[in-house]
Amino acid sequence: MALRVRERTSMSLYERSFLPEVVRGLGVTLRHFFTNLIFRGSWRYTETVRYPFEKRTYPERFRGQHRLLPREDGSPRCVACYLCATACPAYCIHIVAGESPERAVEKYPVAFEIDLLRCIYCGFCVEACPEDAIRMDTGIHTPAFLSREDGVVGRVDLLSLLGRPQTPEAFGAQNVREGKPRGQ
């Protein structure tokens, strides 16, 4: 790819004062204000949500932060098959598989990390999982991080998250936030 060098031009006094642009911006706000005042109920009316006092309810299939689903004994359902990592277009899932000492489960994730800073929330990992071990039904937005390392969420943290109340039930340990956990 050819590299294009562009001269950085300095701003004129008119631009540097920023005042005209501030006025222009306020103009847009005022236009919306009066439009909404006059045309209430018409197609011109702009619907707004009084965030943060009001929050929109997300659709059921909203993809929030991932979580790992537990088995009844609390261990992750994940069998470290790498299918999520294979499907991931952002290469944000890092798994280290290990041989489980239990006879019933052969393979388990020694490490399961998702780099939320790389994740593009496409949901391919959820689609790929043959064990229903990973879901994006927590309804949590990506939190803000102070360092890149904080953006990497490990197995324990992913397991501790619960799904939203309307999430479909999964066979296993406590699964759904609020609402009654299974078996109680």
Partner: protein
């Protein structure tokens, strides 16, 4: 020559050849599980059934010898329907635990399901439970549920390994592969059964769960385990070697590889020296190349200018090209008349593949250094000289060194030893300056096996650290001393070698085929 018609193609065959052999050679694919070119025919998987004109039933193509004028159809509806049914049958009790199966991605059951079957399992009964994760031996783990009883492993142990350590136990649905009481599968070639297994029933405990196979990149190479020079495939991901697999070469290893050789993959990964080390009194510090190279060159230069003797020792794992540049350094700059050779200790040989000499390029290093007019010695005279502080400076150049207490002690006592090595052993810390070299997986050059076969060593990946081949370090040292050889790459070195050494004139590096070629030291 007699001919047979397979799918409308008239193909010639040698008497005794089976239909599947002739078809495979001609590029006609017949699905199979139990057939293997190097093993006897069992004809028990029934996947290779084909239609032969005038035969009342379908015949197994692996077992049926071709006859003159025979007309075979491998893609007729009848054959396809049979393959579908046979595959359904093979998968009846299959647990379909592909997510945790190491074979997934290179599994014949998966491949043929997609190409041949593509129907749902008709099984209404609960699938048969058998034991999983049974340790047959130190390296092999058996999963009875996945097994399709092709008996390739049993036949391998009987016919190639010549030790019947595996057998078929029980009957029908309950049949499974097993070992005999008190006799685990501990044959030195046991990991070959893992390669042979067309499904995930036999898995290697070494490779198990380390990596999914679809992530691995495969490249041809040569085994560094002994002087046999077995042809291998390196499977690596992100410059980490995960396993070595045999590569077919009928002139060397056919399609087998010993367990010992397979386990040498760790040499490319473990305890790698990633940057130069410098030793000041007792402290060993990592150093950038920019500083380490002048320090080493100054040391060498002071000895060369004062006409003091410089002693050299070279690893038997070095490539011919590396040996050539080292030989040039010894003769032209150091004024040495001999180079000591060192390597792995003598091991055990066997009738199948293993050689007692555990160094991959003794023949090559000896031929190159001998051709340059240098005498090669054992390590003992070098050690003796080192202990007597005869050489002012010594160079110990090697790829993969096993820890050698005596050598490390002598190097430490001498104090002015330059060292090139792939691994950070006691030697690297005993040397004055150590430079990181490439492992066999990153090396480019040629090796000559104990049987006199020149084979090309291809790099599987570029070195990720500061590691460089020995010849690069030596050339850079020489350059710092004011001599420029212009021998930058193995190709330029080979061009010079072919000019200087008659034995190498016959075999140009670009001409060394993937399968290797015979090499004679006298150039005949």
């Amino acid at each position: 020559m007699p001919t047979v018609t397979i799918d409308g193609q008239r193909l010639e065959f040698a008497p005794g050849q089976s239909i599947i052999e002739v078809a495979t050679k001609a590029g006609i694919e017949i699905p199979y599980y139990c057939w293997h070119a190097k093993l006897s025919v069992a004809a028990n998987c029934r996947m290779c059934l084909v239609e032969v004109e005038k035969a009342p039933k379908l015949v197994p193509s692996c077992q049926t010898p071709c006859a003159d004028g025979m007309v075979v159809r491998t893609t007729s509806e009848k054959v396809k329907e049979t393959q579908r049914s046979v595959h359904e049958f093979l998968l009846l009790n299959h647990p379909v635990d592909c997510p945790i199966c190491d074979q997934a991605g290179e599994c014949k059951l998966q491949n043929y399901y997609m190409t041949v079957q593509l129907t749902k399992s008709p099984m209404r009964e609960p699938r048969l439970k058998k034991h999983k994760r049974e340790e047959l031996g130190p390296y092999v783990i058996y999963d009875a549920e996945r097994c399709i009883m092709c008996t390739r492993c049993v036949r391998f142990m009987e016919e190639v390994a010549k030790e019947r350590q595996l057998g078929v136990f029980q009957r029908g649905n309950h049949a499974e592969i097993g070992t005999f009481p008190g006799q685990p599968l501990d044959h030195p070639y046991s990991l070959n059964v893992v390669d042979l297994c067309p499904v995930g029933a036999l898995t290697s405990s070494v490779f198990r769960f380390k990596q999914r196979v679809w992530y691995l990149t495969r490249s041809p190479s040569i085994c560094s385990g002994c002087a046999k020079g077995c042809n291998i495939h390196i499977d690596q991901r992100s410059s980490i070697v995960y396993r070595l697999l045999p590569r077919d070469n009928d002139a060397v290893n056919q399609c087998w590889l010993c367990d010992e050789g397979r386990l040498t993959y760790t040499r490319a990964n473990d305890a790698r020296l990633t940057e130069p080390l410098m030793r000041e009194a007792e402290a060993v510090e990592p150093l950038p190349v920019k500083k380490a190279l002048p320090a080493a060159a100054a040391l060498l230069q002071s000895a060369v200018q004062a006409k003091q003797p410089v002693a050299l020792a070279l690893s038997l794992s070095a490539t011919c090209e590396e040996a050539f540049v080292v030989g040039k350094l010894a003769r032209e700059l150091c004024g040495a008349t001999s180079v000591a050779l060192f390597g792995y200790a003598e091991g055990v040989a066997d009738a199948l593949l293993k050689k007692a000499d555990k160094n991959p390029n003794r023949a090559g290093v000896t031929a190159v250094l001998g051709g340059l007019g240098l005498t090669v010695t054992e390590l003992a005279p070098f050690l003796k000289a080192l202990n007597q502080k005869q050489p002012a400076v010594a160079l110990v150049l090697g790829h993969e060194l096993t820890e050698s207490e005596v050598l490390a002690k002598a190097m430490r006592a001498h104090g002015n030893v330059l060292h090139v090595a792939a691994t950070r052993t006691a030697l690297a810390e005993a040397a004055r300056v150590s430079f990181p070299s490439v492992s066999f997986a990153e090396a480019d050059g040629t090796w000559i096996s104990g049987d006199g076969r020149m084979q090309r060593l291809m790099p599987a990946f570029a070195p990720t650290s500061e590691a460089r081949p020995i010849h690069t370090w030596v050339a850079e040292l020489a350059q710092a001393l004011g001599v420029t050889w212009m021998l930058g790459t193995p190709a330029t070195i080979r061009a010079e070698m072919e000019r200087v050494l008659p034995a190498f004139a016959a075999a140009k590096i670009t001409h060394v085929a993937p399968q290797g070629q015979p090499f004679t030291p006298d150039g005949a």
